[in-house]
Symmetry: C2
Subunit: 418 residues, 2 copies
């Protein structure tokens, strides 16, 4: 069977699964999610044995320690996958929710009803927990999922999918609802991206190269974020103690995440009072600093920042520091170098806080809080399937609601078009 | 200058226009729209003179009478364009609207704020009024627009754009906010579709061929509808007088529109009582009928429908008629042959009405009302830029809200990620 036929066949199964799942009641979906959680824990030996094959092959191939770690399953990580599914089961079901209804002069009622999107393709890299997380969220929102994980995690992903599909069968849900592309051939991705009649949305999760490949080749709508080049701006009217805590948290608490700060912008009116102690604290925490000329004049021994550094997502303990003239220069810097992900201002000045909030065009804009809080759980949305920096359909953390769309419903008693 | 440089230059102007426009207050945007409306009327002679060139060339080229009619401007059509802009000015401004705000356990407030999408590309065919309609809606929603109209309307479109841009200048708004691709070369479209960093959304308006070309070649998200294959299902518990009025309206009131009925489905329990008089009324109105075998047994002299007819959007006085066993068969028929546009059930049975409403996966689903009512004005959204049959971002009529997106805003007092 050629790749096109194979992938089309898989996507058709998912489409059938989607039709059945769109009608499933919340109770059945929740029972299934809880059953999946139980089964993952009960069958952990089977999962660990399959995972060992992937880990062994990865080490043989000489993959980095970090990659091997991301690939590795253990009892604790299996418990976390199970817990994730239980949490999704506890969230309210968005499907069928009527988000508004109004009456028109001719007497008909017009409203919007949340419905599943249909079939969602998830293309991801090595972490096997994405298999369970993504399948759980899509299931709860009434969508079938077609999963294409990294080839290095193939055995682990297949084992997880086997457990999840057994739960679907057990609960009389269509197995096509969780469909897995079980070939390591990358051609499968290209074929998936052409199936705009069978797949409704593609979400790539992984490095920038994967995301670019998907975006450039897809005929299907894509939701993604390329990178997080996030800023904190310390305004002249900032509480400098609060500013130091927010900047330190945004950079150091978990530097490898997309919502960590990459560039700190400081109003020149407070640079002298703020920078020396702040930068010392960063250095004590092991942060490598790159400063603009004005920063260097106050804190001389660090490296000078180059313009291209302002575009970089370090995902590491490295920080650009720039002194700016005012909030306008800060906003202009973010517009030019930022990635529309997460940006914050620290200030006690109401007018500048509101200007920053309105004018900075990012998925989440913060006043007096850390950019690290851009997260579905922190925002109270429940679990998330990723953070979108797109401007279509969803911006910021994508939870269950973002995995649905709204159709119009009309209740009439004989209304006609005049 | 090569095409790529030319289009990139244009899109960069639009991007600059978008940045400026995102901050414009409603008052200024409304004043500009009203000024545009006045100027279009005041400068109608200039518009008509330019339009004459297009109309002359179209006749020379032997374009069909219908196409020449769509292309032609007159005082009445210019007044309608102006009226459209006045109506947009009167609509509430979606930009800056906070659609929800809630407090988290750590004390921070999290909310969603509507913001413009940015730069919207509109690719359309011959009707010159789209130029003013699309520019007006995009402007009100704070978006810059980059317009690419049909080559046969080039002079008319350029004249309209000149008037609109003069109003922008007059009101101190950035002229890039309305950017026009003034070359008839189709290569310009291909270059536009690659500019994913400069254009945020593309909306094609025109025939299926244009829309397919755009979708297959775009790296930018696209909102569209291919076609409207719409159904009315007459249930066994329908009020047959109401059913006849709704079906007649859905087919005959304006058959050339996307929300007109193409296939009428009738429950076999009422087929004998309903069909003969209904079909006679259709024939008297000049509708050519294509019936399934059961329909033919009740009304023998009409053509037999072929399976491929069920997929067709006639946009004409032609109708497929099919007798089905029950609501399940009707829903299955719509899922298979429909285009997810507008579908209706006529029934007095509450349970089947609710099942149809939930299970039919179309942009608008109607109970006891005509599919012809799927329209932004009819639904109370104000003007619309088109009807989406996509499932991402917007389904159904796209008004001002659909030309915005929502970003997250967070108001804190020092919150950190633990």
């Amino acid at each position: 069977m050629d790749m096109k036929t194979y992938v089309t066949e898989k996507a058709s199964q998912a489409r059938e699964g989607a039709r059945a799942l769109a009608r499933a009641l919340s109770g059945r979906k929740n029972d299934t999610l809880l059953d999946m959680a139980r089964s993952l824990k009960k069958r952990s030996k089977e999962l660990l044995a399959e995972n060992k094959k992937d880990v062994y092959a990865a080490k043989e191939k000489g993959l980095s320690k970090a990659l091997v770690d991301r690939l590795t399953l253990n009892e604790k990580r299996i418990d976390e996958m199970a817990k994730g599914l239980e949490e999704v089961a506890a969230l309210p079901d968005p499907v069928g929710q009527i988000t508004g209804m109004w009456r028109r002069p001719n007497g008909m009622s017009v409203g919007r009803m949340r419905v599943p999107i249909g079939v969602i393709g998830i293309i991801y890299e090595s972490r096997p927990n994405v298999t369970a997380d993504a399948a759980g969220l899509c299931l709860k929102a009434g969508n079938a999922v077609i999963l294409r994980g990294g080839s290095e995690a193939l055995h682990s992903n297949m084992a997880i999918v086997r457990v999840l599909r057994d739960s679907l069968k057990q609960n009389a849900l269509h197995e096509g609802a969780i469909t897995f592309i079980d070939t390591p051939d990358r051609g499968a991705i290209m074929e998936m991206l052409k199936l705009e009649g069978l797949i409704d949305l593609v979400i790539p999760r992984g490095g920038e190269a994967l995301i670019r490949t998907v975006t450039e080749n897809s005929r299907i709508p894509v939701l993604k974020h390329y990178k997080g080049v996030c800023h904190v701006f310390v305004d002249r009217d900032a509480d400098l103690i609060m500013a130091e805590e927010i900047c330190f948290n945004a950079k150091v608490q978990r530097p490898g995440t997309c919502n960590a700060m990459e560039t700190m912008l400081v109003d020149e009116a407070v640079a002298e009072g703020f920078l020396p102690s702040m930068l010392k604290r960063f250095e004590n925490a092991g942060v490598a600093l790159r400063g603009c000329p004005k920063t260097l004049s106050l804190y001389p021994h660090i490296t000078e920042v180059k313009e291209e550094d302002y575009y970089r997502e370090y995902l590491d303990l490295i920080l650009n520091v720039k002194v700016v003239g005012d909030v306008d220069e800060a906003i202009a810097h973010i517009a030019k170098y930022g990635s529309a992900h997460s940006d914050a201002i620290v200030t006690m000045n109401h007018e500048r806080a509101m200007r920053f909030l309105r004018e900075v065009d990012s998925s989440a804009v913060f006043v007096n809080a850390s950019t690290r809080l851009n997260d579905g759980f922190q925002f109270g949305l429940g679990a998330e399937i990723g953070i979108s920096t797109d401007k279509i359909h969803a911006r910021g953390p994508m939870g269950l609601e973002e995995l649905t769309c709204e159709k119009f419903i009309v209740l009439g008693d004989g209304q006609l078009r005049e």
